[in-house]
Amino acid sequence: MRTVVGIYSPINVADWLVPGRSLFLAMQIAGIACFVYIVSKRMVPLLRAQADPRFDRPLRRLGRVLKFWLGQWKHPRYRFAGTLHIFIFAGFLLLAARAFTVLIVGVSPNFVMPGLSGRFGPIYERLTDYAATVVFLCMVVAVVRRLVFKPARYAVPPKFGKAHTADAIFLLGLIALLMVADSLFSASRFAGLAQQAQSAESPAFLSLPWMLEIAIASTSRATLWGLNVGAYLVHAIAFYFLLCYRPFGIQFHVETSLFSIYFSKLDKGTVKPVRWDVPDEHLDQVKSFGVKTFGDFTWKHILDFYSCADCGRCAENCPSNAVGRPLAPRFLTIKARDYVFQHYPVFGKSNSSKPLIGNIYSEDEIWSCTTCGACEEECPLLVEYIDKIVDLRRGMIDDGNVPQSLQKPLKALESRGNPYGKMEKKRGDWTKSPELQQTGPVKVLDGKNGADTLYFVDSITSYDDRMQAIARATARILTGLGKNFGILGAAEKDSGHEVRRFGEEMLFQGLREHNTEAIKESGVRRIVTSDPHAYNALKHDYRDAPPVEHISQVLASEARAGNLRFNSVDNWLEIKDRVYTYHDPCYLGRHNEVYDDPRDVLDSIPGLKRVEMQRSRDRSFCCGGGGLMLFYEPQEEQRMGVVRVRMAAEAGANVIVTACPFCMVNIEDAIKVAGMEGKMSVIDLTELVDQHMVRTVTHEKEEKLEATTDGG
């Protein structure tokens, strides 16, 4: 029969020079005081940082805590390391109550954690025996991984500093020590009780305490007491040392992750405003734009720096890093963390006035990002990168610090509304092609013509000779489906999607204002676009635009409704030798989670053989970036597009289907650069659909349809 449910207090066990209770109490007060002091120092930069309103939508935030924190949602993406982490995390959660109980019994011998006094107590104890064992084993495995298998993503390239292995091993070792001390404390207690014949119970079968108990069962009572008190002391010291050491490195996430995830960004695809506490209309009064010094970051972004666990998953999935550009998201964070620890020290004065660019970040590093979002998709702690990159770019734009290669297109966007400097009146010239005249001319919604749907074409699809084929295919499909649609023509300007993401906020706002006005005047009720960047801008960056759909969504719903049908495979034999693979454009896939619609459309084409690339859906690999990124001249070892084309070949495909004009540019170029012409080709989803759809809607029927839609 157990007299004390819970943990046997070490104060009863041995005679001490200093009474055990006072010693333990002093240690615990000192440990807690240290931790509180360090954390309050770590709070200083957060309190001085920029505003960031993350206190809304508490239920959604709690849901995310359950999914991403308690549920460890992102971890299984890396099966082995992720599983290991789930075990450690679960072990820590289970052990938390026991750890506190162990600490408290040093001071108050009869303490029992509330809820653990009844029948659940012994069960909980058995569970924690196993938890300590599992965590210990995980530590051993983790150390072996770090030392023997050395996963590439933990490596630190020389340009980013020294390896972090020693620190990681030290921390893993400390946790292992904590587990051993905890188990030994329990084992020695059971062994002592058994010798006194007070209890016939023993720790959970095959657990670490169980094994230790067998090992020490026959030692003398004095030794057992010594072990018991020694284990207690080691446990307490290791516990408080870890508690106070974690805020200096990668394990701070043990404390911060809950907050990081609760306050994580809820609105995918958006970019943070210049200043959360200044409305757009008052931006002229803001003295400085973007992030120039550390104090310009928001508190959540600084919390991100604390929370990063240095796991390297972001960098391993980052296309910029993969092609040797000077950017790895992991080090964006690590460098900022090193900076904040150095400039907001635990002892001494804070000082953070140095500019970040040229000090810890290079200009090319910040311009290298395509904002594809692969890093954010991967991060188990939901660390944000795009908003930080955009804020750093805003700072550089504000200082006039912009590569010459980007200045021309920005200037052209300002004076002509497109990055190529082409005449506004020629924006709709793609409609003049004879092939379009056959299927039905495209209306320009200039006040004389009205329509239900606006086809927002955007700059590249309007002006680029090759991409105009996408515009024409889209127009023919919409006509074929009997949609009453039109374009803005000369009244359309660039959506400004990349303008905003390159940090030129005021220029973006000018473009948005112009387009919003033009869309309003056109009187349309919905928008369709074939450009995922325009789609993302209209959906997330514009405020008063009608509902917008990407053409792949329209196609999927029409196919489901039976309105979009394809010729049978016999009519186009050439398709039989082809193996298609779908490349997810970042701004359709990751940023807007449209993964299935384009695939469904492809699969509804009879006889079409489709394979998946290893990196697909939310792990899609960016083709090289769109908009202004086409003008930027990065330092890189190879092109992202070339890497992507090779991935398609590896998957066994010989045709890449995409749904974005920028992907088309990059992949088409990459096929040439990789010398794969003739072996690989690329086609836009609209072009493929246009080639093979059954056109049942005649002009007459179209008019009827128009009449009904207008009526309804």
């Binding site: 931006l283 006039g400 610090n401 200045q407 400097g421 005449m423 005021m506 010398g675 012409e677």
Partner: protein, 262 residues
């Protein structure tokens, strides 16, 4: 150091489709968009960098209609201390010498240690800098692609055909024509332009500068444009249509045939 930069507004060739007007004596100007002349932008950047190193003021001046204000605002947003628009109906039709005459009068209204111009305007003839220096009796160095300040002297260098560089010493005050590539001009964003939207830009007319009507404008112009045309594109380009390997072989063959491979 007091620095004056003479800048000009030109139709940006990368943002316009240049077409002849129906009369055939000028380009169609209705739908043109304008920028500051590229070389002038480099000159302004150089002036700002010199000012930031040694102190002083940068003034930007342009001879134009009231539309010239657009580029002056941009240069103010870039960081120039002040700008002045020199504008008068009487200036219309001035040749290079006429513009230099107007600028000379402007220079004499102030005290400038250093006067910079772009090496030439996109639609210009690279005359004004040299003429202005001669009229002021200032030393002149052209095609400058580097400036080092040494008290009241400058060391300026220029690139010689073939990539060599020549360094010259020149006394202040002087006039320099600045080559593109001397620096990396900073970006001027929408925000910068909006911030200087209310900065006053004085407009000076012929009378303010004491320029006589007879010395400028069409009446004084001794160089007159008589024609403007787009040359017919000539033949001579051969486009290869083979595979990559075939094309590479053909190019080797052609280059060898012209004596390009020894």
């Amino acid at each position: 150091m007091e620095i004056l930069v003479c800048a000009r507004r030109v139709p940006d060739t990368s943002e316009n489709e240049i077409e002849l007007n129906s009369a055939g004596n000028d380009i169609e100007r209705d739908e043109l968009v304008y920028s500051v002349n590229e070389a002038d932008n480099y000159a302004v950047e150089e002036a700002l960098q010199i000012r930031d190193r040694v102190g002083g003021n940068v003034t930007v001046v342009t001879v134009d209609s009231e539309d010239g204000e657009e580029i002056l605002r941009r240069q103010l947003a870039m960081g120039a201390n002040q700008a002045a628009l020199v504008s008068d109906e009487a200036f219309n039709g001035s040749d290079g010498k006429g513009i230099a005459t107007i600028l000379k009068a402007f220079v004499e209204k102030g005290h400038y240690d250093l006067i910079l111009t772009g090496v030439q305007a996109d639609d210009g003839a690279a005359q004004v800098g040299g003429m202005l220096a001669a009229m002021l009796d200032y030393p002149f160095a052209s095609l400058v692609n580097s400036i080092v300040i040494e008290d009241r002297k400058l060391k300026v260098s220029r690139e010689i055909e073939g990539g060599n560089r020549e360094v010259n010493e020149i006394d202040l005050p002087c006039v320099l024509s600045i080559q593109t590539g001397i620096n990396e001009p900073r970006y001027v964003g929408m925000r910068g332009i909006r911030q200087v939207a209310s900065v006053p830009i004085p407009t000076l007319a012929a009378g303010d500068l004491g320029v006589t009507q007879a010395s400028v404008g069409e009446v004084a112009a001794k160089v007159k444009r008589v024609d403007y045309f787009v040359p017919a594109s000539s033949k001579g380009a051969e486009i290869l249509h083979g595979s990559r390997e075939e094309n590479a072989a053909r190019i080797l063959e052609l280059v060898a045939a012209k004596g390009g491979l020894n």
